[in-house]
């Protein structure tokens, strides 16, 4: 027995990084299982391929970063490998699994031609893990959410070849798109494209009986995951609440114009459609809550959520792209360090910060009012 000197405090909360990552994996389980049950092998491929690639990339990264430092002697590969292997930890395994599963769930079930999906999965996950995370220094250092970065890259490169599983929903407009991409194809008019949303039952959207990526459509499963994350406190409720709340509020503003001007569209139908379509819930649950890429204090996190909500709404309502969640995540990731700047950072909700947050929200409200208020409806 020897006596060890250490600095205070001498006790610690029962918690660990690995435990937190396992919590996220548990929260991802309902979506993954539903997805595998519905899409079968395609879902398995979407999940396993990115996970394998990301794990491999992280493993290589750990080996490179922990190689024997230069000391004048030549070292064999075995020596480098052994030293790197010693630094390989549980979180090096779990973190890429989390990123990989999220990325896989954001990809479609197939493509046309069929081999493109493999290329998209491989390149997307490589881009996500390497450019999105490892070049910054690995876990905890990254600016971008790896899954969002990979998903956006894959979508920009191969998006036109994606084929979404119809999953029981028969679209009258175009086969192979999502509910949201059908919108942009229905009409280029900002309001007119909502003319047919009454055809889709909200209950079907909640259960995931609509086309979409293999994970984001199953809202009930995502909600189970979200509740688990919030109970386990693995996600910060401030971001979830400010993002989903901000999104709902801004869409409620947009809904006033849509319901007033577009015939046959019910206000609540529009609101429900906005909340249940696309990746809003999925992004809010698994991607906006990534603690590494968000600001560190409470006011910053609320602003982060509001900003994300505003950007998502703007891209959805005005954008040429059907879906804005992943883009708004990446833009918010870029802004997060600025929200943390030491000159004004602090964990208190000061008057100035509340005012700034309200101003931010007001800008988005104004943009929606100006954009939709003067719009004439043509279908």
């Amino acid at each position: 027995m020897s006596i060890i000197k250490e600095t205070s405090p001498h006790i610690h909360r029962k918690d660990s990084l690995a435990r937190m990552l396992i919590d996220v994996l548990i929260a991802l389980a309902p979506v993954s299982i539903t997805s595998i049950a519905v899409y079968g092998l395609a879902a398995l491929r979407n999940l396993l391929l990115p996970v394998a690639i990301m794990m491999l990339a992280e493993f290589v990264f750990v080996l490179i970063m922990n190689r024997v430092p230069y000391d004048g002697n030549k070292h064999t590969f075995k020596e480098h490998f052994q030293k790197g292997w010693k630094a390989y930890r549980l979180h090096h395994v779990l973190a890429p699994i989390v990123s990989g599963v999220i990325f896989g769930l954001l990809m479609p079930s197939g493509s046309n031609p069929g081999y493109i999906i493999y290329v998209a999965l491989i390149l997307g996950s490589l881009f996500g893990i390497v450019i999105g995370k490892l070049v910054f220094g690995g876990t905890g250092q990254n600016i971008f959410n790896p899954a969002a970065a990979g998903m956006v890259f894959a979508k920009l490169c191969f998006g036109s070849k994606y084929v979404y599983g119809t999953n029981g929903y028969v679209s009258a407009v175009s086969a192979g798109g999502t509910v949201l991409s059908n919108l942009t194809e229905t009409s280029t008019n900002l309001l007119g494209r909502y003319a047919n949303i009454g055809d889709i039952s909200l209950w079907d959207m909640f259960l995931g009986r609509i086309p979409g990526t293999i994970g984001e459509a199953f809202k009930f499963a995502i909600l189970i995951g979200l509740i688990y994350l919030l109970i386990r406190r693995a996600a910060d409720w401030r971001v979830v609440l400010s993002y989903l709340g901000g999104y709902a509020a801004l869409m409620a503003v947009a809904g006033i114009f849509v319901a007033a001007k577009v015939p046959n569209v019910n206000y609540f139908q529009f609101l429900g459609f906005s909340l249940l379509s696309g990746g809003v819930l999925f992004g809010a649950t698994y991607m906006f809550t990534d603690p590494v890429t968000m600001p560190i204090n409470a006011p910053g996190r609320v602003m982060y959520g509001i900003l994300g909500a505003g950007l998502t709404v703007i891209i959805r309502v005005f954008g040429a792209l059907p879906e804005g969640v992943a883009f708004s995540i990446l833009i918010c990731n870029l802004v997060a360090p600025a929200l943390d700047h030491y000159v004004y950072s602090g964990n208190k909700f000061t008057k100035k910060k509340i005012l700034f947050t309200c101003g931010l929200a007001a800008v988005f409200v104004l943009a929606i009012c100006l954009g939709l208020g003067f719009q004439e409806v043509t279908v």
Binding site: K5, I11, G140, A298, D340
Partner: protein, 434 residues
């Protein structure tokens, strides 16, 4: 887990139900020649001299105050020895051989109640200075300094919170020395000419609160009240205590006395009673010896200068002797760890904790923000840590680490087991230099 700490599981457990044991007075006691606040001491006795219990044997010289040293046994002076002090340094100790007669110094006489009723605040300061009273809660701040001003005090707060986990010495003191504590409080009322006294006790110690409420019925209209406060850590920090008891925010860098508040630890109140009523210096104190490395955790009344080995022996020694131990004087959150168990009990040792060492590896910070949410002073530990790593002095200063009270919560909550508090300590050093 992204969440602030609401309350630390306090593991006081059954230890708070055990009565305090009186430890046999050891054959040798030791007195440090210097301590955390004072430089080298001047001893008035030399080898071979006979000393009496309570006799003034030396004087430590602080920069702003002097601290007398009193013998805690009667016996013979035997020269110097080196041991570890509470501050973690090895210092010289004066050794006194105990003759087990406990002869009191003739100058130590009781005061009558009439005499005490006539004492002024300045008299109190004199008595406490002569009896070397310091904050027995662990701060070792000389108590007389709090009496040495003429600010109007409107309310006296008694800190009986003991918010550090594991420690139960104060709770046992409150139960066992109930009367002395209350009489000590009435002395404070005399000294500060102030009626209102609040005894702050954690809400969850319901029995203690009931006990005091029942006993205080004997002191009707005395102005002494029990004030239940929150269960969280660091509730015992004076500014947090004032906030929850009175709702007053004491600004950083200001003293509670500027707001008309005087606060004392409950064991200091007990010490004040002994000093004023019996004119005794602090010659014994209560100590918790606990932790998972101790076989039979217990509370003790020990003479100052007792070597720790005697306490450990009485506790049945260590558990699992093949495991490495961490040896802490003070609480598990703020206490200092010692490199050896060769240590001497001084006035300011509130507890001895022995833990089985558990090495925890640091994982990368994932910016979960638990440290930011937990900080009782509203700092952002993670940001300060980044600034320290970058040696970015303007950034460190802007983040204001000097507000930190080193409560240790940021390390306690860290999901990645990073010792954040160490970085904040370094930041404080940076911020103090130009």
């Amino acid at each position: 887990m992204i969440a602030p700490v609401s309350s630390i599981h306090d593991t006081k457990g059954l230890l708070q139900t055990l009565p305090t044991l009186a430890l046999d007075v050891p054959d040798y006691v030791y007195f440090a020649a210097d301590n955390a606040r004072c430089g080298a001491a001047e001893f008035y006795v030399k080898e071979g001299d006979r000393v009496l219990l309570g006799q003034l044997i030396g004087m430590r010289d602080g920069r702003f105050f002097k601290q007398p040293i009193h013998s805690s046994v009667s016996g013979t002076v035997e020269g110097f020895e080196e041991h570890y002090h509470r501050s973690g340094k090895k210092v010289k100790f004066l050794r006194i051989k105990n003759d087990h007669k406990d002869e009191w110094d003739p100058s130590i006489k009781d005061r009558s109640d009439e005499e005490i009723a006539k004492l002024t605040r300045a008299d109190f300061a004199k008595i406490l200075e002569a009896n070397a009273m310091v904050g027995l809660g662990g701060s070792s701040f000389p108590t007389y300094v709090k009496f040495n001003n003429d600010k109007k005090i409107e309310v006296i707060l008694i800190n009986a919170i003991e918010c550090e986990p594991y420690i139960t010495a104060d709770i046992r003191l409150m139960m066992e020395e109930l009367e002395k504590v209350i009489v000590g409080i009435t002395y404070l009322q005399i000294a500060f000419e102030c009626k209102k006294v609040l005894i702050c006790i954690k809400k969850k110690h319901r029995e203690l609160i009931r006990m005091y409420q029942e006993y205080l019925r004997r002191y009707e209209n005395s102005g002494i009240e029990v004030c239940p406060v929150g269960n969280f850590y660091p509730q015992g920090w004076e500014i947090a205590m004032i906030k929850s008891a009175l709702g007053i925010d004491v600004a950083t860098g200001h003293l509670p006395s500027e707001y008309g508040i005087a606060n004392f630890n409950v064991s200091t109140v007990w010490g004040i009673y002994e000093a004023v009523k019996h004119n005794r210096p602090v010659y014994e104190r209560r100590i918790s010896v606990t932790g998972d490395g101790i076989k039979y955790p217990s509370n003790f009344i020990v003479r100052l200068g007792t070597p720790l080995a005697a306490l450990l022996e009485k506790c049945g020694g260590y558990t699992e002797p093949d495991k490495d131990k961490v040896f802490i004087l003070g609480g598990p959150m703020m206490g200092a760890s010692l490199p050896s168990d060769d240590c001497i009990i001084t006035k300011t040792v509130t507890s001895v904790l022995v833990f089985n060492h558990e090495a925890k590896e640091e994982a990368p910070c994932i910016r979960c923000g638990s440290c930011v949410y937990s900080c009782p002073t509203g700092l952002e530990p993670k940001q300060i840590m980044d600034a320290v790593k970058a040696f970015d002095k303007p950034r460190i200063k802007a983040l204001n680490p000097l507000k930190c009270i080193e409560c240790g919560l940021c390390s306690y909550v860290c999901t990645s087991h990073i010792r954040v508090t160490d970085y904040i300590r370094r930041a404080k050093m940076f911020a103090k230099t130009k």
